[in-house]
Symmetry: C2
Subunit: 466 residues, 2 copies
């Protein structure tokens, strides 16, 4: 007798006739008049539960089996058999049922087998993975993360963990959280009345990182091909379905690469990840297609099959201005595109993912490489049908004189960037990279509407439970 996962049974990996024990949680129980109970057991190893057919001859049939409710934990021993019923190919003919744990009061069990709202599930984030939808999300999330690590590893990229706590607001990508151990009831002050951060844990003011990019550039400028995969933070009061205060980012950075190189990298990375999900998580994807978003599989399939269309920002503005469609926000060269514009371009105008390139320098960060026209920088956004921007990246300014002029122009203090400037003083190389918001990717792949439902324990303004 050996233990088996539900997926091993349902996939046919275990020979019919084998005696095994499956351990998991009861999804449903149904009793026939003939004195047989059908118990569906899930263990998280795949979308479906396995059916155990429990005859009344089992020792504890009356005392326990017929009292099992959703959420009870059990070990069921029995023989793998071909299933006579519809749906699944295999089932378990039970000879023994062991109950590990009961549900305290089935009537008040928070994960009772009725339909719950996503808000309700969020309030029970410690139990929601017991539901079909959150279980499926988390398996797809895992599949994507594994695929991304594998993609980069196979191509010779090194994973680099950039720091979470940082003493510089160097990228200026957003509002930051302060990290401190100062006694809040007794903040030390300097003679001039300012806070004496020299007495704080790190000897200076410290924050949570908004991006690992500047740090990982130093790794690209020696190890050539690197990527981060780690948490980043925004202390912005954005209570929307697309924002999290804490989210995971994937940031590849590539020495000797230009904008087109990383546009190609972004395209092949997304295709690789989507193929992995469709292959490895077909069961969960079928569920999302059926219950969450009927277009979700087609959309992924199209991204896999289509060539991404490259387009200049300047051309995109012209297209949007002349398309005859009335947008909520007007379009003008020099302003950032809104989600409605991005989606029009990807969904209506082209009908495929777009890589939009060469944005006006005034709406982009200081580190982006200036183009020869003096007006634009070598930045790109990847716009996907159905969601809009999913990746943002750029070539980095590797010319010290140009970088310095830009820092001056933007009134950024050079001292603060001294180590970053060192990378340009000593054997500088052209390099480029991009950032992918991992939870945005998971919403795109699953069709889930709210980003808080694709991360285990979401953090948002006024919300840091569990």
């Amino acid at each position: 007798m050996s233990f088996a996962s539900v997926v091993d049974v349902l996939s046919g990996e275990i020979a019919v006739g084998s005696e095994i024990t499956v351990r998991g949680w009861v999804r449903t129980r149904r009793d026939s008049k003939a004195g047989i109970s059908f118990i569906n057991i899930h263990d998280g190893s795949c979308f479906d539960a396995v059916q155990a057919v429990v005859p009344s001859e089992v020792d504890n049939y009356q005392s326990e089996v017929v009292k099992l409710t959703t959420g009870c934990s059990v070990a069921v021993t029995g023989t793998v058999a071909e299933s006579a019923g519809q749906g699944q190919a295999f089932e378990l003919q039970a000879t023994k049922v062991h109950v590990y744990g009961w549900v305290e009061d089935p009537d008040t069990y928070p994960m009772s087998p009725k339909r719950h709202s996503m808000e309700y599930l969020r309030e029970h984030a410690h139990l929601r993975t017991r539901t079909n939808v959150t279980g499926a999300v988390m398996r797809v999330r895992n599949c994507l993360s594994q695929a991304l690590h594998r993609f980069f590893h196979e191509q010779g990229y090194l994973w680099v963990s950039t720091p979470i706590i940082t003493a510089s607001d160097a990228e200026g990508a957003g509002e930051m959280f302060r990290v401190s151990t100062l006694d809040m009831m007794n903040i030390p002050k300097k003679d001039n009345g300012q806070i004496d951060y020299a007495q704080d844990f790190f000897g200076k003011e410290a924050f949570l990182t908004v991006s690992g990019q500047l740090n990982v550039e130093s790794y690209a400028c020696s190890l050539s091909k690197v990527y981060t995969f780690g948490p980043t933070f925004r202390a912005e009061n954005s209570n929307t379905s697309r924002h999290l205060s804490e989210f995971w980012m994937v940031e590849p950075e590539v020495a000797f690469a230009d904008l087109n190189d990383i546009a190609g990298l972004a395209e092949s990375m997304l295709k690789y990840a989507f193929k992995a999900v469709l292959t490895e998580r077909a069961d969960d994807m079928a569920f999302f297609q059926q219950r969450i978003d009927s277009g979700v599989i087609d959309r992924l399939q199209q991204v896999i099959e289509q060539d991404f269309v490259h387009m200049d920002y300047t051309d995109a503005v012209e297209i949007l201005q002349n398309c005859g469609k009335k947008f909520e926000y007007p379009v003008a060269w020099g302003t950032d595109l809104q989600s409605e514009h991005e989606r029009y371009l990807a969904e209506v105008h082209v009908g495929a993912p777009i890589i939009l390139k060469n944005y006006p320098k005034d709406i982009k960060a200081f580190y982006m490489r200036q183009n020869d026209d003096g007006k634009t920088v070598a930045a790109m956004d990847v716009l996907a049908p159905g969601i809009g921007e999913i990746i943002g990246g750029s070539a980095r300014e590797e010319r010290l004189d140009v970088l310095d002029a830009r820092l001056d122009e933007m009134q950024l203090p050079k001292e603060q960037y001294s180590w970053y400037r060192d990378l340009r003083r000593y054997g500088t190389v052209p390099h480029a990279g991009f950032g992918l918001g991992f939870e945005r990717l998971v919403t795109y792949v699953t069709g889930m509407q709210n980003i808080r439902d694709v991360i285990p324990f979401p953090r948002a303004p006024k919300s840091a439970d569990f």
Copy 2:
């Protein structure tokens, strides 16, 4: 003509006679009297640099090639040839040298080709990956992280990202950093004079996590086999070579597992990771063996080959008391073992990794499963020769009544653990897990003495540079 990595050339993957371009940084340049320059170029793809043989016929030979110094960035085009010299099998017969970037002032270049102290390299964390030692560490670090993800993925584990920001000090594993957006010059107070954290970003006091364990238990109690791999934090004023304020942890958590199951998991995980390093990073490991720690490869090989020895804490105490060796710290049942004791057991008494089990409950956390003797808990530490404790884990108390009694005994407020208690109220299952400090693992594998040298940008008291 195509681009190639240094590793592709040196491994013989590219046919002799092929014309390629290698891009990287100059490690050394040597000029022969015959008017030929030998330039060693590294690009991070492997330990060794490739030698480019540059004849004086190259266009910019006098104007640029003979001026190249350590750290300059170049693209060298040429033909792959078998190397006549010692050492490497292949070299590049250059026909063209393009210089991307010079070193501003070679005399003051911080990574000049002399020997630097580890402290010095730490002060130049943005440049130190250009050195042999840090490059090797970071490749091994990447190899270990990829191997760990692969190990768990192959066995059906799901990666779970537990929250970084947390509002509960539930585990009590150590001092915590506060995360806040309150205006430090103007802290809001309540009528009773206390700080009004309701006005803070998350509406309550928030911290950086010390462990994802409690959170990930909720995932094990539905998805069965899960693991975390993410950053954790300790605000402890420990300025030692073994402590970091920010470090990465790997925490598998397994439903239906007992202490012996996760002891077995820890053993197979370490063996898998060490095999991966010895196979995939033989070049870097040869360097560590030669320059950092002459026993390092043997030690890994032994861990791979030996069965881990299981031993009870109680037996270990008796062995230590009767071994005749004089320890700095006395040994008595009921006290925690010190590093000297752990190393004696693993290195002298057994000569193999030890899994020490069943510690006194009073020196362990509230969540560890109580044994029937009423005195010990089902906890384990993995002690490795040469380093001592490398993994700590336990079975978790899954019985609500026992858990509650322990919370009372330790005067921990039940309300704070209500969601954790829910896991025991609804279909509780035996489960167990452990934590591996990822940087401890990297120091063990590389033989590096200071943990700050195995993480890209170390954070420690008074130190959060870059």
